[in-house]
Structure formats: structure tokens, C-alpha cells
């Protein structure tokens, strides 16, 4: 409606109203003129009454409507406690990992307290964790102050039942990690202000805050995580390393299904754990992995066409390269096929293969496999690798069997995923991917190489000469590669044979087409100690492979991997060609 129309309507209304009033006045005048003055007054009173009645009716209708249909009750502030600031974290099946839960803060107003002594005694009895000094300061103060936070509803009710004057509560949300130490490094923790500090809490901080009141599903499967942690801790108990890592990933999607790091800490009380325990060794620590790197060298050799599974390498003598001589840990002293080089974990054979590939191509492939950059994953802890400054023959020979290059277990897992999923380099993720969701990846190797590597890794576990045979689980077609990297010791300015990083990189199932469901498992122990059961050895085949096998045996049903009847699989030690991956 235009301004002109509205002003015209207003003037018509005022004219109509004034005409009615004047008409009424004239009626009164006429009544007075006819000698009926009493009617005149009564009429006035009547009309005033009518006007009041109309006003009253309008007010009554308005009041009734407001009373019946207002939502004032919702805004009275009594029913809405403090709002959550962070979304719940759940595993891929909806199991709760982290949540904001309603707690209460305890406040004391000394001006309302009649008997401070009685209040002090009752509060200390009801709340054993209450700091007496803090309580004393509150009781002696002159204003209402905060005394203790994070009271559970039960604790609040307990204090409330005491009926103490001057003691009150304020609702507050507190981040709680109900699983305690389970998946602690993966989930991480947040500070009292609701900001993520470590793990998924820090990695997805913005998303978690934006989705407050909802849920964010993470990639881990709590059942897988439980089995992984259990077997890792058993290995830790047996071989007493200074640190340990367990990882389970889906090679096709890059989802991290389980991630364990030892020592552990409780994210509910992160301050009580030191930095050493809080460190996520899967993401933030780099290791010289040792022989698990041989899988990459063999894969590169196959992919470049430099070698086939039946290519032979003379390992009868140590390999002299410049100023250094490369030996085998378990010297076979014979000519080995490529499969045997892998099975015997021959440093000589691998170094010769790497030299044949050439520094340029080796460096290029390592880059393509993502081994020269931090593993791209949401976790902020992911560490940068230590790589050779120059890719010359010496560097290539060392890195071919996992020396002279330090990477995180996550980077190792990503590179293994690549050689096992058909040759696609995909990022790892801590977020759940929906079934059928496409994953962007760069093709860095051929599918044929991938199938060959699956066969060779299977041979290393199934074959009697394989170094990973203790991880063999009937019917699950497990493949893998052991790794034992000696650690550099600054005290002796060289590698210390007694300080090792022992690991086992496994994949299952190795059979089936390249796109079949397939999972990677890594068990790594940092400086384990041999026991009588391991015949005094602390190498990957003795300390990590059995744990990896047990993990696979336990998680296979959760991941929907069915046991297959044992079939004539890869024959040991290069007796038959495995090039077609069948």
C-alpha cells in the first residue's frame, strides 16, 4: 500500500469517527431539548460502559491467547542447561568415543552461610576431591565464587541434599572420553575451553564445533581397535619395548580402522601423562623401518620392468658399493630369485636390484609413493620424513632395505596401501567414508605390479622359507613383510644392533582380484627385547609377525573377510612363477 492510500484511509476513518461523535452529541442535545435530561446522562454512561467493555473484551482475548499459546515457558531459563559446544565423536558403527556431558560447577557465597564450620565439614565429607585451601578461601571471602567444577549429577545431588545455604551450582558442559585409554591417541582430547588439542579432536576442531549437538563418525571400528590394542599390549608385555604402534587400514579407501600407540594415556586426564605417553607414535614419530621397505624396492623393480619374480641375484658374497659393504642378516650364500630375495629378506639382493633400477627412478618412485612427504591425513601430528639429501647409488642402496630414510608408520601404511590396492596413491583419512564413496587417487603403479606384490607377500607368509610365516592364519590368505631396522646410536656413532625397530607389515586377504576387499595391518615395536619364547631374537618375524597374525585372525570376522578353504597357494621360494598374481 502506498503512502497516499494509507493517509487517505486514515482521513476517512477520522472523518467517520468525528461524524459519529458529533451525531451522538446532537442526539444528547435533542434529548435534552425534549426535556429528558436523565436519559441524556444514562446514555452517556451506557456508551462509556460499552466502550470499556469492548476494550476489556479485546484485552481479555489477548490475555487468554497469550496465556494459552505463548512459548514463554520455554524461555524461562530453568529448563535449558548449558548448550554443548562440540559434537559427539562416534566410531564407524555409532559407538560413542567422545561426548559433552552435563556437569555442574560448585559455587559458594559466604554472605549467605550461617555456620561456616558445619559447611566446611559437610562439603569435605561429600566431595573428597575438594581442595580444603580453596574451600577455606571461599568461606572467608566476601563474594560468590567458583570452588569446584565437573561435578557429576550424583555428586551434585549429594551436596544438594545437604541443604547448605550459600552453596549453589551452575550447569557446565565437560568433554568426556568414556573409553579411557582405548583409542586415546586417535581420538585425542580438547581443553576446558572446547578447543581440540590432539588427535581427531584437534584435526576436526572446526567441524566438531560446527556440528555441536550432532555426531561425527570417525573411520575406526571399535571392535578392530579393541583387538589391535589387546594384541599390541600383549606383545608389549612380552617383549617390553620402549614404544609400540599398531595400525589397520582399508587399502582401497585409506580409512584408518584401528590405530594404537603405546605407551598410552587417559584423555580424561591428559595432564597426568607426560609428553612421551601423549605422543602418537603412528603419526608423529619417524622410524628407520628396515626391511619392510624391501616391498617398495621389489615393487619398483617389477613396475619398471628391471626385474621379474624369477630374476636372479647373486647373494653368495657381500655386496661392495663404494666405501661400504652390504651384508645379509641371515646369509643364504646362494643365488636367489626375486621372490627368494623377498623371503630371505636379503639386503644384498635388494641393494643390487635398487642399483639396477637407478637412483633417479628410485627417488622418483619413493616420491610417487608419498614416502618423501608427511602422510596426508587430517591429524595435525603427522610428521615430516627424514630423507636422503641426494639420491645417489649409496642412498638408493641404503633406502632399498629401509636404512637412511625415516618415515612415520602412517606414511609406511599409505605407501603399502598403494602397492596393494592396484597402484593408486590415496590419502589416509580418520573420517568414515560411506560405502561406494569414490576416493580420488593417482595411479603410480600398474595393477599387474600390485597383484604380483600380493603374491610375493603371500609367499613370504605361506612359504616355509618365508620370514613372516608366524603370521599365517589358515583360510585368510595373509601376506606380509618383516622389518628389523637397527637404530642409529649417537653414542657409538653408528647403528646399534641391540636397539632395533621391529615390525611386520601385513595384508589380507591376498587372493582375489585387485578390487577385492583388502586390509593392511602394521605392528611395530620400538626397541623390543628378545625372550625365551622368541629364542632371544627381537626381530620383526619373532616379535611383530605373531601379533599381526593374531590381530588379523580376530578382526577378519568384523571386516567381513570369510575364511576360505586352504588351497594350493604360492609355492615357497620361487619354485613356481608368481608373475601373474593368480
Amino acid at each position: 500500500m502506498s503512502f497516499g492510500e494509507s493517509s487517505l484511509r486514515a482521513s476517512l476513518l477520522s472523518r467517520w469517527l468525528s461524524e459519529r461523535v458529533w451525531g451522538l452529541e446532537h442526539a444528547f442535545e435533542r434529548a435534552r431539548a425534549s426535556g429528558r435530561a436523565e436519559d441524556d446522562t444514562r446514555l452517556r454512561i451506557f456508551f462509556v460502559l460499552v466502550l470499556f467493555a469492548i476494550g476489556f473484551v479485546i484485552l481479555a482475548i489477548g490475555a487468554t491467547r497469550a496465556a494459552l499459546f505463548s512459548d514463554a515457558a520455554r524461555a524461562d531459563g530453568r529448563v535449558a542447561p548449558a548448550a554443548t559446544t562440540r559434537a559427539d565423536l562416534v566410531d564407524r558403527n555409532g559407538m560413542l568415543l567422545a561426548a559433552d556431558l552435563l556437569h555442574y560447577g560448585l559455587y559458594i557465597d559466604p554472605r549467605e552461610i550461617w555456620e561456616p564450620e558445619e559447611t566446611r565439614r559437610a562439603l569435605l565429607a561429600a566431595l573428597p576431591n575438594l581442595d580444603p585451601n580453596r574451600l577455606e578461601r571461599a568461606l572467608r571471602g566476601n563474594r560468590r565464587i567458583f570452588v569446584l567444577g565437573a561435578l557429576t549429577p550424583e555428586q551434585r545431588n549429594k551436596v544438594h541434599a545437604l541443604g547448605l545455604p550459600g552453596v549453589s551450582f551452575e550447569p557446565e558442559q565437560r568433554r568426556v572420553y568414556p573409553l579411557g585409554t582405548s583409542a586415546a591417541h586417535f581420538i585425542g582430547f580438547s581443553d576446558a575451553g572446547g578447543e581440540g588439542i590432539a588427535g581427531a579432536e584437534a584435526a576436526l576442531n572446526e567441524e566438531i564445533r560446527a556440528a555441536a549437538g550432532g555426531q561425527i563418525p570417525l573411520s575406526i571400528d571399535l571392535r578392530v581397535q579393541g583387538a589391535l590394542e589387546d594384541e599390541l599390549y600383549k606383545a608389549v608385555h612380552e617383549f617390553t619395548p620402549k614404544g609400540a604402534v599398531g595400525l589397520v587400514t582399508d587399502v582401497h579407501t585409506g580409512e584408518i580402522l584401528g590405530m594404537a600407540s603405546w605407551p598410552v594415556y587417559d584423555p580424561n586426564k591428559p595432564g597426568k601423562a607426560g609428553v612421551y605417553a601423549q605422543t602418537n607414535r603412528a603419526a608423529a614419530t619417524v622410524f628407520e623401518m628396515g626391511s619392510t621397505f624391501k616391498a617398495f624396492t621389489v615393487a619398483i623393480g617389477l613396475d619398471t620392468g628391471v626385474a621379474t619374480p624369477n630374476s636372479t641375484f647373486d647373494a653368495t658374497q657381500p655386496f661392495k658399493l663404494g666405501y661400504r659393504t652390504i651384508h645379509d642378516y641371515h646369509a643364504a650364500r646362494k643365488v636367489l630369485t626375486l621372490v627368494e630375495v623377498f623371503q630371505h629378506s636379503s639386503n644384498i639382493g635388494t641393494a643390487k636390484l635398487a642399483v639396477a633400477i637407478g637412483p633417479q627412478r628410485m627417488g622418483d618412485y619413493f616420491k610417487r609413493l608419498g614416502l618423501t612427504e608427511p602422510a596426508p591425513v587430517e591429524l595435525i601430528e603427522t610428521a615430516r620424513p627424514l630423507t636422503p639429501k641426494v639420491w645417489n647409488e649409496d642412498a638408493v642402496a641404503s633406502t632399498s632395505f629401509g636404512h637412511g630414510i625415516n618415515v612415520t608408520p602412517l606414511a609406511l601404511a599409505r605407501a603399502y596401501n598403494t602397492i596393494l590396492n592396484g597402484g593408486r596413491l590415496i590419502p589416509l583419512t580418520i573420517l568414515k567414508k560411506e560405502p561406494g564413496e569414490s576416493v580420488e587417487g593417482r595411479q603410480v603403479m600398474s595393477e599387474r605390479t600390485s597383484l604380483q606384490m600380493l603374491s610375493i607377500m603371500r609367499a613370504n607368509v605361506a612359504g616355509e622359507a618365508g620370514s613372516g610365516r608366524s603370521a599365517n592364519i589358515p583360510g585368510l590368505s595373509v601376506g606380509g613383510k618383516t622389518g628389523t631396522g637397527e637404530k642409529y646410536d649417537p653414542a657409538i656413532r653408528g647403528y646399534n644392533r641391540k636397539r632395533q625397530v621391529s615390525s611386520f607389515a601385513a595384508v589380507f586377504p591376498t587372493n582375489g582380484p585387485v578390487e577385492a576387499k583388502r586390509y593392511f595391518v602394521l605392528i611395530l615395536l620400538d626397541e623390543p627385547h628378545g625372550t625365551a619364547r622368541s629364542a632371544g631374537y627381537a626381530t620383526g618375524g619373532w616379535v611383530a609377525a605373531p601379533a599381526a597374525g593374531r590381530v588379523i585372525e580376530r578382526i577378519a570376522p568384523f571386516l567381513g573377510v570369510q575364511r576360505q578353504p586352504e588351497i594350493a597357494e604360492i609355492a615357497p621360494a620361487g619354485a613356481t612363477p608368481v608373475g601373474d598374481g593368480q
Binding site: D39, R42, L43, F46, L49, V50, A53, F56, V57, A60, A63, T64, A67, L68, A72, A73, R74, D76, R78, V79, A80, P81, M95, L96, L97, A99, L101, L102, T152, P153, V176, P178, L179, G180, T181, S182, L222, R223, Q225, G226, A227, E229, D230, Y233, K234, V236, H237, E238, W262, P263, V264, A277, I473, P474, G475, L476, R550, E553, R554, R563
Partner: protein
């Protein structure tokens, strides 16, 4: 006689109607406010109750998650029930059941359970929950670690 002049027991009819209307209105508003107030209090109480229940449900969900920690379940199942992860040797297909039945019961000399032994020894490891208190089921724990 007009409506304004009609009287009932000395009172003008129009006045009586007006007063009656006023009384009805006052009573109506009073009743509406009273009933609405009661309803409002009831709604607020129900909403408070819903909120409290939701809070309680969240607490219970967290408690369930805490009690269902994989490590805790593992420890309890080994300690109290002498259960352990199923190995490949203990799995069978439906077709194999007849063969297993024909083979008869397994030998009584069951090998020492490595899992049970390790779990029961594991109280010294951070991250591995301690075994259940010995007074709860001392016999079973002793058997498991024998």
C-alpha cells in the same frame, strides 16, 4: 417501551445485561488464566523432565561406552568365563559338524591358554586393564593361569 427503558426489579435491563456480561468476562478470563497457568507449569515440568531424561540418557550412553570398553570386556570374559578369541582351529562349517561328532570329544589335556595366561599377567602394563579381583572367582582365575 424501548430496550433502554425496560426495567427488571428496579434495574434497567440493559444495565443487568452489561453487568452480567462483565461478570462472565471476568470469570472467563480468570478461569482461562488459571487453567492456562496450570497447563503452562505442567508443560514446563514435562519439558524439564524431558531435558533431564535426555541428560540422563547421555550419561547412561557414556557409562555403557565406558563399561563396554573392548579391553574391559576381554579381561572379564577371560577372567570370569575363561573365554578367549576364537582361533581358526575352533571354527567349522555346518558340513564339518558330522565329522567332528564322529571324531568324538576333544582330548582333556587342553594346552595352556596363552591368551588367558597373558591377560591374567597383564596387570603391570599401562593400558591393559587389571584382572578382576581374586576374591570374586578365585578358582577360575587359578585354573586360567595354571
Amino acid at each position: 417501551m424501548s430496550l433502554l427503558d425496560r426495567k427488571v426489579r428496579g434495574f434497567r435491563l440493559v444495565d443487568l445485561i452489561g453487568v452480567s456480561l462483565l461478570v462472565v468476562l471476568i470469570l472467563g478470563v480468570y478461569l482461562a488464566k488459571t487453567i492456562a497457568g496450570r497447563e503452562r507449569a505442567e508443560i514446563a515440568a514435562v519439558e524439564r523432565q524431558i531435558k533431564a531424561e535426555q541428560t540422563r540418557i547421555r550419561l547412561l550412553q557414556a557409562e555403557v561406552a565406558h563399561l563396554e570398553q573392548p579391553g574391559r570386556i576381554e579381561r572379564l570374559s577371560v577372567g570370569y568365563l575363561k573365554m578367549e578369541p576364537v582361533t581358526a582351529g575352533r571354527e567349522a562349517t555346518v558340513e564339518q559338524i558330522i565329522d567332528i561328532a564322529r571324531a568324538g570329544p576333544p582330548k582333556k589335556e587342553k594346552p595352556v591358554s596363552i591368551v588367558a595366561a597373558m591377560v591374567n599377567e597383564s596387570d603391570a602394563i599401562p593400558g591393559v586393564p587389571p584382572p578382576p579381583p581374586p576374591e570374586a572367582l578365585p578358582l577360575r582365575i587359578a585354573e586360567a593361569s595354571r
